[in-house]
Point group: C2
Chain length 285, copies 2
């Protein structure tokens, strides 16, 4: 069965989700109104069909998939409800389970079928590297959108929030340790012991110091949108009875790197560490 | 040259430091007054000479090395000063550089030569596995106490606080990631997605889920004294202009595990995770 699927919005992840649905035999649409030239270019390159306005997209599609930064998830959901969409709505964003439940309740109240999702991995250009976890009674229907398998899917039950919880816990460690490495390297630089620290790391594991430096330099381009995800994780942990401080600190650090958004070349380590060290904090000593 | 070295106190780490000095040809003393039966037994087993009181130890030794939990470091230093010790005092504890500087200033004011140290690794029973970093003008003299090399030494300059800073930054990652793994597994358990998380981890790296479980179960016996070390790291980071939240959260988590102190058998994972999840936090939702 061929479905009409709307993707909000074709960012780097979203366009790969769109292509995965297209290669699975579906018609995939987007709405260019108000989107950036970069998004327009990306959607053109991958032959997504532009319906112009969100209103047209809501009218033409039976399934809408929301792929956006966490802070925008509720706004995107509200805008779809404003156009009286009546199909199936899947939120696959990095949001807390409580936010997913809130969106789900608003959808149910409006007669929209809601599926909670969470994506683990980068944009899905190679099979077996990116997983879309799905929860909710319509989860199988969303999984069917990607049957050709570029994007792997797995349904993990009917309880809304479970897919989001899994995504939060997974990212808590990967993005949490990258932030922690940044904090440690920043502190070591500020305290003038970075050389000694990297030497000791190399005694334990010859590749570790270099890997740590690369992780911290590589994350800079995406740091601006990781801050919101860290705040979602902090809220998720707090609601589960676990201290939120790890990810509140991680959000703070990623915000300090937000100036690297859009930078084409990877910055030198020292530039990153200097951005991580807050002079305000140092003054307090 | 044979020195008379006092060890305050022969805990599990301290007794290995003492033995390393003995095998390097020095006379090593301790003071049993007020210590636990376990410490007495440990010192006896390794043939440390008991001088009974701290007063006797301060009178008989030219070098005193403080090896104790971070919260006790300043009290140990004060007690030594109270007996008018006039030799060389090395603090090798897991304390912030600012606390090391504070102890160093008190020592200098009293005419005591001060060396700042930090130990990386477990008790030094095998060569090449445990490093004592040293900073201060008397650092070489402390390094000479361990010339036989069970405990490896490295002098990293004259600036008091540098060895402590290195220890803090190193432990920030090792003990920080163990705490983070506990937080993630605790949250996943509470949110009923632990099985799915461990399955995804295994897709990324077949050994990781098992390793994470073991790290969290193994840390329980020592968690009671890690809380103080995490607070020292938080203070170190704050003074360096880096968010303290990671290690404040880690201190909180390690405190939740303090009930496992002295437990002989390693607890099951579920018992650990239930201890990590605070009902108070959950009630807030």
């Amino acid at each position: 069965m061929t479905d009409n699927i709307g993707i909000l919005h074709p960012g780097e992840m979203g366009v790969s989700v769109a292509v995965s649905a297209m290669t699975s035999g579906h018609n995939v649409y987007w709405a260019s109104e108000g989107r950036s030239p970069q998004t327009y270019q990306r959607a053109q390159t991958h032959a997504l069909v532009d319906l112009g306005s969100l209103e047209n997209l809501c009218r033409s599609c039976s399934i809408i998939i929301s792929v956006c930064p966490p802070h925008a998830a509720e706004e995107v959901a509200r805008s779809v409800l404003a156009f009286s969409f009546k199909g199936l709505y899947a939120d696959v964003n990095a949001i807390s389970p409580q936010r997913a439940r809130r969106i789900g309740e608003a959808m149910s109240d409006a007669g929209v079928s809601f599926v909670d999702g969470g994506i683990i991995g980068g944009p899905a250009w190679r099979a077996g590297e990116t997983w879309l976890y799905l929860a909710g009674s319509g989860a199988e229907q969303v999984a069917d959108c990607f049957s050709a398998g570029l994007l792997q899917t797995e349904v993990i039950g009917e309880v809304i929030g479970k897919a989001s919880a899994l995504k939060m816990c997974y990212a808590a460690y990967t993005k949490g340790t990258t932030a922690l490495l940044g904090a440690v390297l920043g502190a070591a630089e500020g305290l003038e012991v970075r050389g000694e620290l990297e030497r000791q790391w190399s005694r334990d594991d010859p590749g570790f110091a270099e890997e740590a430096q690369q992780r911290v330099r590589m994350v800079t381009a995406k740091a601006w949108r990781f801050a919101g995800e860290m705040e979602e994780i902090a809220a998720t942990f707090a609601a589960a009875g676990i201290p939120a401080g790890f990810h509140e600190a991680a959000a703070n650090l990623y915000r300090r790197l937000s100036g690297f958004k859009g930078r084409v070349t990877r910055p030198e380590l020292l530039e990153v560490l200097n951005a991580l060290i807050s002079d305000a904090g140092k003054d307090k000593e």
